[in-house]
């Protein structure tokens, strides 16, 4: 079976800028796929290449086994939820949702019924007659979702759809989107710069940087086994340790990632088992973050961050011993 979306060595250049630079990628049917990266990393351009708003400068794109180059957006069986929703201000919510069906020539009564159903699905039953301007950000987001899903696309593209929402709403929408994707069983391709969002929702995550895919993996692997310094740094926060430090602490002489939450902060001179490694240092900074407390410890010429569950046992200036399991140190392929 051919994948829902296939990229073969795809490039998209804007003048001298290589927005997308040799991306090869398969997105399976029914998958919740996240494209994660900092702004300007090429993830949104990749989404626009799938939607057909951009054409590749080089390479090949397939959608369900069919060549996508040269096929305009209106002939592709996929729909997009735009970053700022792009709801038509001169139409009511109901007309917005029914727009795709109206274009296809679905009779008025039928498309209105379908639009009602789609709005009910996103919990906006009864909002048909409102104007987009009368809705809150979260409601507009749902309308945009309903407007895309009512057409029964095989792939739904979402461009930072939760970016404009506040934290509580965002968490709620994350759960709802995930549930909706399971229920409908269609492929979701989701662009975000929020690593928490990507990890919590996606089946697989592609991490982008400078137009290239750095790593494609399950969220657990992305987080626990970053293959490069960029991924370790960008996804969550990490102590990136140089090869000499790694080898002197019982690991291979490679650049190594050590997550702060794997490090325990103990009193100086605490006994350490064979399976663990340690470093002695002085607490330079304590930042209280609610659920966790973050210590920044100067160990030799290196700063190491450690996160421990709430409650600060130590003060700034205290001598401490940082202890972590050797298995928590993840060697990475790429140094720089």
């Amino acid at each position: 079976m051919s994948p829902a979306v296939r990229f073969v060595n795809v490039c998209r250049h804007f003048g001298p800028v290589r927005a997308v630079d040799g991306v090869t990628l398969d997105i399976a049917e029914g998958e919740f796929f996240a494209m994660l990266g900092p702004s300007g990393s090429g993830k949104t351009t990749c989404l626009r290449l799938i939607a057909g708003f951009e054409q590749p400068s080089a390479g090949h794109i397939e959608i369900f086994g069919e060549t996508a180059e040269g096929v305009p957006p209106y002939k592709r069986n996929l729909n997009t939820v735009f970053q700022d929703y792009a709801l038509f201000p001169h139409m009511t919510v109901g007309e917005n949702v029914a727009y795709g069906l109206r274009i296809k020539g679905v009779p008025k009564a039928e498309r209105e019924a379908k639009a009602r159903k789609a709005l009910a699905m996103v919990k906006l039953a009864g909002y048909e007659q409102r104007r987009p301007a009368q809705l809150s950000g979260g409601q507009r987001q749902r309308v945009a979702l309903a407007r895309a899903l009512v057409n029964g696309p095989k792939v739904l593209l979402l461009d930072e759809p939760l970016g404009a929402l506040d934290l509580k709403l965002r968490e709620q929408m994350q759960e709802e989107l995930k549930a909706l994707q399971k229920q409908l069983g269609i492929t979701f391709v989701f662009v975000t710069h929020d690593q928490g969002e990507a990890l919590s929702m996606a089946d697989r995550v592609a991490v982008f940087n400078e137009g290239k895919i750095i790593q494609v993996d399950s969220p657990a692997h992305i987080y626990e086994k970053p293959q490069s310094r960029f991924v370790a740094d960008f996804v969550g926060s990490s102590n990136v340790l140089p090869p000499d430090f790694a080898s002197s602490h019982g690991c291979a002489a490679k650049w190594t990632s050590l997550r702060p939450e794997r490090i325990a902060v103990a009193a100086p001179g605490t006994a350490v088992s064979n399976a663990h490694s340690y470093a002695d240092g002085e607490v330079k900074l304590i930042s209280y973050q609610g659920a966790v407390t973050r210590y920044s410890v100067q160990a030799g010429d290196r700063r190491i961050a450690a996160e421990v569950p709430a409650g600060a046992e130590f003060k700034e200036g205290d001598k401490v011993r940082l202890v972590w399991p050797k298995s928590a140190m993840v060697a990475m392929e790429e140094g720089a």
Binding site: A51, F53, P73, Y74, T80, F88, R102, I103, A148
Partner: protein, 322 residues
């Protein structure tokens, strides 16, 4: 001596403080009474609009309810609707109809010609191309209106460049054919409705381009992408998304072109046949004929027409997006 200097300095400092104190006091007072500040700022323009503008308009309206004594040629200062009844005489009705039709065709042509230009300027032109666009649209507005119209008279005249060009291209038959058309034709383009129409379209088109461009400028590119994404071909996107969102701009532009044509008397005097338009009728009536009441009644006609036009535009939902 040093004592005196110190005292002087002190006095200066106190004076400065007092000045600062007064200015501070005024600004504090206005800060506490923002409505008063707004009123003071608005008073001069309100007086201008209220007295000079609305006042004279009202005086004009008043004039239209007087009448002219046919024998003495004097204005009878008594309320009557007879002047308005005069508007319904065939000759006057023809003037009104002619003017309204001309205005409608000019507006339509301006909209059709202006839209692609405005669309290009708002969607595609960047940098120097955009600067060039503004220059091209605005520059004709900087030169004298009369000079431009006389230039057009020369272009359209029988011995003018159009005739010469038609001859060169062996298209004289076409030009003759157009001039032979009933009503709109004439002895030459500069003595025909076609000529008047062309010059009107030329002089008013910037007033159509700029509002449409402003309206299109406010249509984000992702509405067009969203429409394509939902399956609409470019033609469908145009009629369902772009056009409705540009409509307020088109209406705004048409208010300019329509009302400017309704009231103009210079263009049809210089380029056109001798049949009068409303502006010329007003000019003649209040001047040589001395019939100010009828002239006033004539000026009310464009106002009524514009009011009806705006009311219809509003009913059609042209302002819903504003």
């Amino acid at each position: 001596m040093s004592q005196a200097v110190t005292a002087e300095r002190e006095a200066g400092a106190i004076a400065a403080e007092a000045r600062g104190g007064m200015v501070d006091g005024i600004s504090d007072f206005f800060f506490a009474h923002p409505k008063l500040l707004t009123l003071i700022l608005l008073l001069p323009p309100l007086l201008w609009i209220g007295v000079v503008y609305v006042g004279s308009l009202f005086a004009l309206l008043l004039q239209s309810f007087y009448s002219l004594d046919d024998y003495s040629g004097l204005i009878v200062h008594e309320f009557t609707l007879s002047t308005y009844a005069q508007l319904l005489e065939t000759a006057n009705l023809q003037i009104i109809l002619r003017t309204v039709l001309m205005s409608a065709f000019v507006t339509l042509a301006c909209a059709v010609v202006a839209f692609p230009i405005a669309y290009y300027a708002s969607r595609y032109a960047r940098g120097w191309a955009k600067a060039l666009f503004y220059l091209a649209v605005m520059m004709p507005l900087w030169s004298s209106y009369l000079v431009k119209i006389y230039a057009w008279k020369l272009i359209l005249a029988k011995e003018g460049i159009v005739t010469w060009l038609a001859k060169g291209l062996h298209l004289s038959w076409l030009l003759d054919g157009i001039l032979a058309l009933p009503v709109v034709g004439g002895p030459s383009l500069s003595f025909s409705y076609i000529g008047t129409f062309l010059v009107f379209v030329y002089v008013w088109i910037p007033y159509m381009i700029l509002p449409i461009q402003a309206a299109l400028e406010r249509v984000p590119a992702n509405y067009i992408e969203a429409s394509a994404d939902l399956g609409a071909e470019p033609r469908q996107t145009f009629w369902t998304v772009i056009f409705p969102l540009a409509l307020p701009g088109i209406i705004a532009g048409s208010i300019f072109t329509f009302s400017l044509t309704l009231g103009d008397y210079i263009v049809p005097t210089i380029v056109g046949n001798s049949r009068l338009m409303i502006g010329q009728a007003v000019y003649t009536l209040q001047g040589t004929a001395g019939n100010v009441p009828l002239a006033a009644a004539f000026t009310v006609v464009p106002m009524v027409i514009m009011a009806i036009y705006l009311w219809m535009a509003k009913r059609m939902g042209a302002f819903d997006v504003l």
